[in-house]
């Protein structure tokens, strides 16, 4: 097995393939990630999202946007607005800002309601005020899909891409993934064998910077959520798996039927775990 390991969008990536990736393929992967980041990153001043945060307007997005906005709309409706791409300002208020100040700067701020603040027509986003988009609920899983597309274009069909918890497997074989216990990183609550699909994990202590301060924020209140503390989702794509991994913090699985078949588990703050009827793997319950 060959591994291409690198850091991008602030986290560690591993691309595993049978044969070493050519320099041209590695460069194409880096270029794809850079392009995505230059559109969607809330953490760099030159991104499209950073410009949208400064003034209202009508903003043309690249070809990767429609799928992401469509997924976000589904999540938004299924969670009664708790998952909302306009949650960026809420996160900034809690200290999760571009400078990583990690210090709250005032009272919690709910995100604007989608239809009050923005309109997406499939190509462009109209904003009536400066808004801070944050696609953290599904962006990284989606980017794993997009990197997989780059590999396929270059003739690489068997691979595992692991972007620190957002994992896509393609081709022959499988990859065995431990589901880390959110309260004890030395333990797993289960193991799944992932084959030709995506697994995304989310935990509220993953990016926590103080008691009760973490990145899984309810957009309707602007406050971190506390009932569910970790989720795992297997779905055909990283986009859907990552989005659902966030969505399941705020709503039960049956609310997300529009997103197709998926398998899931989630842990509550009480230590209780619930999971889908179909679960291709082992849970140590």
């Amino acid at each position: 097995m060959q591994v291409l390991a690198f850091e991008a969008i602030g986290t560690d990536w591993r691309v595993e393939t049978a044969e070493p990736l050519g320099v041209d393929v590695a460069a194409a992967v880096a270029e794809r990630i850079e392009f995505f980041d230059s559109t969607w990153s809330r953490f760099r001043a030159d991104s499209l999202v950073a410009r949208i945060a400064k003034q209202p307007g009508t903003w043309r997005f690249p070809a990767d946007a429609p799928a992401l906005f469509a997924l976000y709309r589904e999540l938004y409706e299924a969670t009664d607005g708790a998952v909302n791409p306009l949650v960026g300002r809420s996160l900034e208020r809690l200290g999760y800002d571009a400078a990583y100040s990690l210090r709250p700067s005032g009272a919690a701020a709910p995100a604007p309601a989608w239809d009050d603040a923005i309109a997406w027509n499939g190509e462009s986003l109209a904003t009536i005020a400066p808004v801070v988009l944050d696609v953290g609920a599904a962006g990284k899983g989606y980017l794993v899909d997009l990197v997989g597309d780059v590999l396929r274009v270059h003739g690489v069909s068997d691979f595992v891409i692991d972007a620190s918890g957002d994992i896509v497997h393609a081709g022959s074989g499988q990859t065995r993934v431990a589901l880390e216990h959110p309260l004890d990183s030395s333990k797993a609550i289960g193991v799944v064998a992932l084959a030709n699909g995506a697994l995304c994990a989310s935990a509220s202590n993953r990016r926590a910077w103080g008691t009760g301060l973490h990145h899984v924020v309810d957009a309707t209140t602007g406050l971190p959520t506390s009932s569910v503390i970790a989720t795992w989702v297997m779905a055909p794509s990283g986009l859907v798996a990552d989005g659902l991994a966030t969505g399941l913090f705020f709503a039960p699985a049956e609310r997300f039927g529009a997103l197709g078949d998926f398998q899931w588990a989630r842990m509550f703050s009480t230590g209780r775990v619930e999971h889908s009827a179909q679960f291709d793997g082992e849970l140590f319950l």
Binding site: T11, E180, A201, A203, W209, S226, S276, F284
Partner: protein, 159 residues
């Protein structure tokens, strides 16, 4: 020091009931807050910055191995609910967690929809070292920039 910061369900207000069954040291209390309840600030409050940073720094301190218990109650829309929490610490790691709640509220029942294949109370899990796996999906793999910033804040807080 309020120990019972065990996170209540969303939109519910935590009202700790003191005293605890047994006295906890401040360090153990922080472990309870840090490990179990990393996401427990009740609605309507925001963390005092310095306190939050000190908590994070204090979590670096070693804790005494042993088993700790606490009882707490909180008001929920379903009435007052109580929890008994027992933690076992070994080498600064929570090795066992037992939570006994009254667990009979309508919310709990709502989750038992047919869509759900199963529910297990207080899952402890197995040692990852003993599992044959290729990788791990979970919370220990955080973002690098975020971690660097967090370390910086902690060092400022302890300076």
């Amino acid at each position: 020091m309020m120990v019972m910061t065990f996170p209540p369900p969303r939109n519910e207000t935590l009202v700790p009931q003191l005293p605890m069954k047994i006295a906890l040291s401040a360090a153990a209390a922080l472990t309870l807050a840090g490990s179990l309840a990393a996401c427990s600030t009740p609605a309507g409050t925001t963390e005092d910055t310095a306190t939050g940073a000190e908590d994070a720094a204090a979590n670096e301190e070693p804790y005494t191995d042993g088993t700790y218990s606490a009882n707490g109650s909180y008001d929920s829309p379903n009435g007052t609910e109580s929890l008994d929490v027992t933690l076992t610490l070994e080498g600064d790691v929570v090795t066992d967690v037992e939570v006994v709640g009254n667990g009979d509220n309508p919310d709990s029942k709502r989750y038992q929809a047919e869509f759900i294949g199963g529910i297990a109370d207080v899952v402890v899990g197995k040692d990852i070292d003993e599992l044959a796996v290729d990788r791990v999906a979970g919370s220990s793999l955080s973002s690098n920039g975020f971690n660097a910033a967090l370390e910086d804040i902690k060092s400022q807080a302890s300076a």
